[in-house]
């Protein structure tokens, strides 16, 4: 029998690090934290500072200063207020539609479909998620354009699409972000133990009552987690509005228009979606469903 003898080696750095947890943690976390904070958080902070600056009307250069004009403008000019409200309503509609369709899909996949159908559907929902953001927007554009697929397919029924407008923007955003809602909802429904359904029906509940009283409360955290994505992603989007919305403007459209002409106004207006999202996150956090994300 051969005997393996570990050679006694002294590894001063390793043994030092093994003894000092804090040093070990620091040596791991310093680099990534420097990146996230130094690159990203600092950028967000600088954006906030820029919102207080102004643009020199003669040189059209940004000059440092401190004034609340930009914020005042963003919060009082009617066109800006209307755009904020419109964007908020669009984002909420998209979220509502996603929830409305994700629940029946999840119930079907998790509790009714045969395993192979379930797996197929899981792939079918995930695939478009990666098919390309811009690709999906221009695909929707092709479908809903004047001489497009939708009007062609619906012509026999005498139906014509609304053309590029807010409803199509909502539809496009739903198309873009639906998987973010569908996947967590499906996972949550799958995790419901089957005996809960047996118990519910033993107590005399019909299918719908069971869905309403048993399924809904159990999937609420997943719905909220999914809605954070559908809401936040819709709120900040502007390319869907640009390509499928006709003249529709969203918060992002105005930020994008101003970023070169008047960066301070763009910066001030960026705080609006951040504000909405922070409020949304705080409400979501109170329900305790963010831990699952």
């Amino acid at each position: 029998m051969t005997q393996v003898v570990a050679k006694k080696q002294s590894k001063p750095i390793s043994s030092y690090l093994l003894r000092r947890t804090k040093v070990r943690l620091l040596s791991i976390i310093t680099l990534p934290m420097t990146w996230i904070v130094g690159v990203y958080i600092v950028s967000l902070f600088l954006l906030l500072i820029t919102a207080f600056w102004n643009v020199d009307p003669f040189t059209s250069l940004v000059s440092p200063g401190f004034n609340l004009e930009n914020f005042k403008m963003v919060l009082t000019v009617p066109a800006y207020i209307a755009t904020s409200i419109r964007t908020l309503l669009i984002a909420l509609s998209v979220t509502a539609i996603c929830i409305f369709f994700a629940i029946p899909l999840g119930i079907y996949m998790a509790k009714i479909a045969k395993p192979w159908v379930r797996n197929l559907l899981a792939v079918a929902i995930t695939l478009p998620l990666w098919a390309g953001y811009l690709v999906k927007i221009i695909a929707m554009r092709l479908v809903f354009t004047e001489e497009g697929f939708f009007n062609w397919a619906m012509a026999p029924f005498g139906i014509r699409g609304p053309g590029f407008s807010i409803p199509i923007v909502i539809l496009t955003l739903t198309y873009l972000w639906f998987p973010y809602m569908a996947l967590p909802v499906y996972t949550a429904i799958r995790q419901i133990p089957p005996n809960l359904f047996d118990a519910s029906s033993d107590m005399g509940a019909k299918g719908f009552t069971t869905i309403y009283r048993v399924v809904f409360p159990l999937i609420t955290p997943a719905v909220i987690a999914g809605s954070v994505f559908t809401f936040s992603l819709s709120l900040g989007d502007y390319l869907a509005a640009r390509f499928t919305g006709g003249a529709t403007q969203m918060i992002g459209s105005i930020i994008a228009q101003n970023i070169n002409l008047n960066p301070p106004v763009a910066a001030a207006y960026s705080m609006i979606p951040i504000f909405f999202i922070v409020i949304y996150l705080m409400v979501a956090r109170r329900t305790g469903s963010l831990e699952r994300m």
């Binding site: 080696q9 791991i28 680099l31 990146w35 390309g132 198309y175």
Partner: protein, 270 residues
């Protein structure tokens, strides 16, 4: 089991069918239109040809854009892989004050709308760094992409580390291995599949990204999505755009497919 009436079941099937049509029709219309012989896309397609595919193959702006996309995605992937893995190790192996904040910081670049991230970077580059004489140019775009890709690698590696048996590392240390040796011979082989899967997803995410790219790309540099964006700005959609869009679909599906395979292989390993 959940008992539903026949009617309800039929309704559910109808909804699922409708959803699938809704999700796949636009993609098929787009892909078919890449074979449209006419220069302008439309429906119904009168005659099919591969002419725009052949045209796109040798068209220099498209080749340049593809090269840029691949370069940026590769750069972002490498940076994000290193940072994401470090984050995963820090958050898995240690308990410290502010841990949940760090978690939020990692997700933040992807949780905040692309336009906020894009405008924030653009503002820093053009109103702060540029006046100070620092022009990041091309690298600035990679930095922005890497930042929102970190979460992809982090999620995958963290999920794997959580299921790993820590006593293996302790055993390795007891046997006299140094930290690096343990990492190389014991820890890394256990999570390398998730690491690769996360890196591929980061690549796909960067390859597909457009909003942040609009605000951080240096003038005159196009990635594939940026090139599409410029072409679609015109009133009618040219068929050649659909060729590029189809290529984007295919190219972003490859890393996703491979990463799924990797994840499955890992499930079987255990």
């Amino acid at each position: 089991m959940l008992r539903l009436s026949r009617l309800t079941k039929a309704l559910l099937v109808a909804i699922v069918g409708f959803l699938l049509i809704f999700m796949y029709t636009p993609l098929f219309v787009l892909i078919l239109n890449s074979f449209n012989e006419s220069q302008i896309s439309g429906w119904p397609i009168e005659s099919f040809s591969t002419k725009w595919w052949i045209f796109a193959k040798d068209y220099q702006p498209i080749r340049d854009a593809l090269l840029n996309s691949v370069l940026v995605a590769t750069g972002a992937m490498i940076i994000a892989s290193i940072l994401g893995t470090l984050f995963a190790f820090a958050l898995k192996g240690f308990d410290f004050f502010g841990k949940s904040t760090v978690n939020i910081l990692i997700v933040l670049p992807i949780a905040l709308p692309g336009i906020v991230t894009g405008v924030a970077f653009s503002n820093t580059y053009s109103n702060f760094l540029s006046p100070a004489g620092i022009n990041l140019g091309y690298f600035g775009m990679i930095v922005a992409h890497a930042t929102f890709c970190i979460v992809m690698v982090f999620n995958n590696v963290f999920a794997r580390l959580r299921r790993m048996n820590p006593s293996l590392q302790e055993a390795s240390a007891d046997l006299g291995a140094g930290l690096w040796q343990t990492f190389r011979l014991v820890t890394f082989p256990q999570f390398r599949t998730s690491f690769a899967a996360g890196a591929l997803l980061a690549f796909a995410l960067s390859f597909d990204e457009v909003v942040v790219t609009i605000f951080t790309a240096p003038p005159g540099v196009d990635t594939l999505p940026l090139w599409i964006l410029k072409e679609v700005g015109r009133p009618n959609q040219a068929s050649v755009v659909n060729v590029v869009a189809t290529v984007v679909i295919l190219l972003s599906l490859i890393p996703v497919y491979v990463s799924q395979r990797l994840a499955r292989a890992q499930e079987e390993e255990r």
